[in-house]
Symmetry: C2
Subunit: 356 residues, 2 copies
C-alpha cells in the first residue's frame, strides 16, 4: 500500500510465468496486438501509436520528451511535485529550453498561472502531471488543451498513477502524448510503460530535423515492430507482456467506470478512517487523488519506526514522503487490486496500533 | 532455439511469479544485492558498478555509450554485423564522431586493422561486439586491451550473447564497460540488461562536462539506488529481478566452467549433425560462437516455409538471417537451458524432415 507497486492478482502472476516464447512467435504477436487494443480502451484513445515501452514508467516520460523535443525547443512544464521536476530535468537533457510554472507541493497547478506563462512565447510542448505520486494531488485536465492551443503546443501528460484508477480520457481531453506505468492502478508488476501519441504528436515526430537522441526510445523505430511490419528493434520483454495482457483483461472485465468508482469509494473510506484516528490530510478535498493519499505524520511520531513496525508486524508497506514532504508525510496507496475494503481495514488497524 | 530468448527453466519462471513486493522492501534489497554479487562472478569482475539495467539488452548498449560519450568525443567502433552497426548509430546519437573498422559479415574483426585505425588519433572509446548475434561470430578479445591503450581509449564490449555461455573475463581482459542481456545464455526472460563499469570508466563518468543525455540510463543516478544509499530513481522491475536472481543461482550451481564446456560440446554436436545433413556453416571454425550457429540455407529452399514448418510441426523456433544474411542463412541458438542434447536432436530431426 505504498506509492506502487500495488498488489498483483494471481491471474497476472500466472500469466507472467508462462513459458517464454520468441518475440516474433505468432502467439506472442497476437498477445501484443490485443494488449495494444486494450491499452487504447484504458487510455480512452484511438491513437494507432499506443504501446508498452520495454522499461519502467520513467522511461515512458523520457520517451515522450525525447521523441518530441529537439535542441533549442521551448517546453512549458508544470511542477508541483517530484515528477514535474523530473519532467523539467528530462526536457533539459533533450536540449530544450524549459519554462516552469510552480505550485506548492500538495496543491494543484493554477491553470490561470499556466495560461499567463503560455502567453509569453510559442512553446512546442506543455507538460503536466495528471496524478502527482509524490503528493497525492489529482490535476483537473479540463483547461489544459485550450492553454496548449493558445501557445501552439502539444499537450504532454504523466498518467503514471491515474491510468486505470481515474479517468484519463486521452482523446476527449485532447492529450497528444501520454505515458503511464504498469505497477500502479493496472496492478501488473513494474517493468513496462504504456505510452500513446496522437496523430499531431506523430506528425511532429515524423518531421524532426534531427534523430531522436535515444535509440532505445525512438518511436520511429519501435513503431516499425509494433506497426505490423515487425521490423526487429529489440527483444520484447515477452513475459512482462503476458502479464500486462492479463492485467488489462482484468481491468476491462471489471469495467472502467466500476473500477473508478471502486477507487473513489475505498479512498473515501480510508480518509474517513484516517481522520477518525486524528490524522491530517494535507491535500485539499477537491484535489485528492483516489489511488494515493497523503497523510501528515503527527508531531513527535518517528516516521521510520512506524513504517518498519507496519512492515514487520503486519507485512504492510506504506510510502515515506518525498521532497517537501520527506519525513513529514506518508503516502498510502489504494491502487488497482489494492483498492479494497480489506486493505483499508488492514491499514487503519495497523496504523492505529502503531501510533498508540 | 532462435537467437534468444532461450528456454527458461521452471525454477526461474516460479521465481518470476513470486508476489510483487516494494522496491525498497528489505527482502527485495537483499535479492538485489545478491544478484549484483552473482553478476560480478559471471562477468568475472570485481567492479562495484555492476547491476542489471531496467530494460532489455539494447538499453545496456545505450547505457554504456550515453554514460561515457559526450558531444564531440571520438569513438572507434568495430562493425561485423548488426550490433556493431547499432553501436555506431547509438554513439552518433550521443554526439560522438565515429570511426568504423569493418569486417565482412560472418568473419571476426582483424585486430591489425583495428590497431592501424587506432594509430590515427586518440579515441575515448574502442567498442567491439564479443559475440555477434547476427552472424554467430565469436571475437577473441585478447588483443583489444592493448589496442585501446594505444589510443588512450576505454574498452567497451557487447557481451549480449556470450555472458554465461562463453568466458567473458571482464577484469582479466581489461574491459572498461560491458553490457549483456538476460534472455540468452543466462536463460531468464528478456527485460533486463546487466552492465558493469570499471573504476576507470567510472572516473570518466564522474568527470563528465555535461550531464548524461538520458536521465533513465544515467548511472550517476542509478548508482545511488544500487550503491546502498537507496535513493529513489525509478521503480525497479521487482519480479524480473527475482527471476534474474534465480537464473544466476542456476548458472553458479552448474559452475561457469561446466557451463562453458556444455555450450561447446552441444554446439559441436549440432554442427556435426548439420554437416551430416549436407548443410554449410559460413563461419570459419576458429570464429564460431558456441551459443549461436549460422547455417546457410541451401539453394532452392524456401526460408520462411521451413521456419513455419518447424514452428508448427515441432514447436521449434530458429532464427532467420539479418542484414547480409537475410534470406540466406538461419541462426540456431544453443543458449543456457537450451544447450542440451535433447535440443540438438530435436533440431536436427526437425530440419531433416523439413528439408526432405
Amino acid at each position: 500500500m505504498g506509492p506502487g507497486p500495488s498488489d498483483v492478482p494471481a491471474r497476472v502472476l500466472e500469466a507472467l510465468s508462462r513459458p517464454t516464447i520468441g518475440h516474433l512467435d505468432p502467439i506472442f504477436l497476437r498477445v501484443l496486438d490485443e494488449s495494444q487494443a486494450m491499452l487504447r480502451q484504458v487510455f480512452g484513445t484511438e491513437n494507432a501509436l499506443t504501446l508498452p515501452m520495454s522499461a519502467t514508467g520513467s522511461a515512458g516520460m523520457e520517451t515522450c520528451f525525447a521523441n518530441l523535443l529537439e535542441a533549442g525547443d521551448q517546453a512549458l512544464i508544470c511542477r508541483h511535485g517530484v515528477f514535474g521536476g523530473r519532467m523539467a530535468e528530462v526536457a533539459r537533457r533533450c536540449g530544450a529550453e524549459v519554462t516552469i510554472v510552480d505550485a506548492p507541493w500538495g496543491q494543484a497547478i493554477d491553470p490561470d498561472e499556466l495560461a499567463k506563462a503560455a502567453k509569453k512565447r510559442p512553446f512546442k510542448v506543455v507538460a503536466i502531471v495528471h496524478a502527482e505520486t509524490s503528493t497525492g494531488v489529482l490535476q483537473d485536465l479540463g483547461p489544459f488543451r485550450a492553454i496548449a492551443d493558445s501557445c501552439g503546443a502539444l499537450l504532454l501528460v504523466d498518467a503514471v498513477t491515474s491510468l486505470a484508477g481515474v479517468p484519463v480520457d486521452v482523446d476527449r481531453m485532447g492529450i497528444d502524448a501520454v505515458y503511464s506505468a504498469t505497477q500502479k492502478c493496472i496492478s501488473c508488476p513494474p517493468g513496462l510503460s504504456p505510452v500513446s501519441f496522437s496523430e499531431r504528436a506523430l506528425r511532429v515526430l515524423l518531421t524532426r530535423k534531427t534523430p531522436v537522441q535515444s535509440w532505445y526510445f525512438d518511436l520511429n523505430l519501435i513503431g516499425q515492430y509494433f506497426g505490423g511490419e515487425r521490423v526487429y528493434h529489440h527483444t520484447a520483454p515477452v513475459n512482462m507482456i503476458f502479464a500486462l495482457h492479463e492485467a488489462l483483461r482484468l481491468v476491462l472485465e471489471e469495467g472502467l467506470e466500476a473500477r473508478y468508482t471502486r477507487h473513489r469509494a475505498q479512498a473515501n473510506s480510508l480518509r474517513q478512517g484516517l481522520e477518525s484516528l486524528g490524522l491530517e490530510l494535507p491535500v485539499a478535498e477537491s484535489s485528492r487523488l483516489p489511488p494515493l493519499t497523503l497523510v501528515r505524520i503527527p508531531e513527535g511520531v518517528d516516521d521510520r519506526a512506524v513504517r518498519t513496525k507496519l512492515l514487520e508486524d503486519h507485512g504492510l508497506e506504506i510510502g515515506g514522503g518525498l521532497g517537501d514532504f520527506k519525513g513529514k508525510a506518508w503516502r498510502i496507496g489504494l491502487m488497482g487490486a489494492s483498492a479494497t475494503s480489506r486493505h483499508v481495514e488492514l491499514c487503519l488497524g495497523a496504523l492505529e496500533e502503531a501510533l498508540r
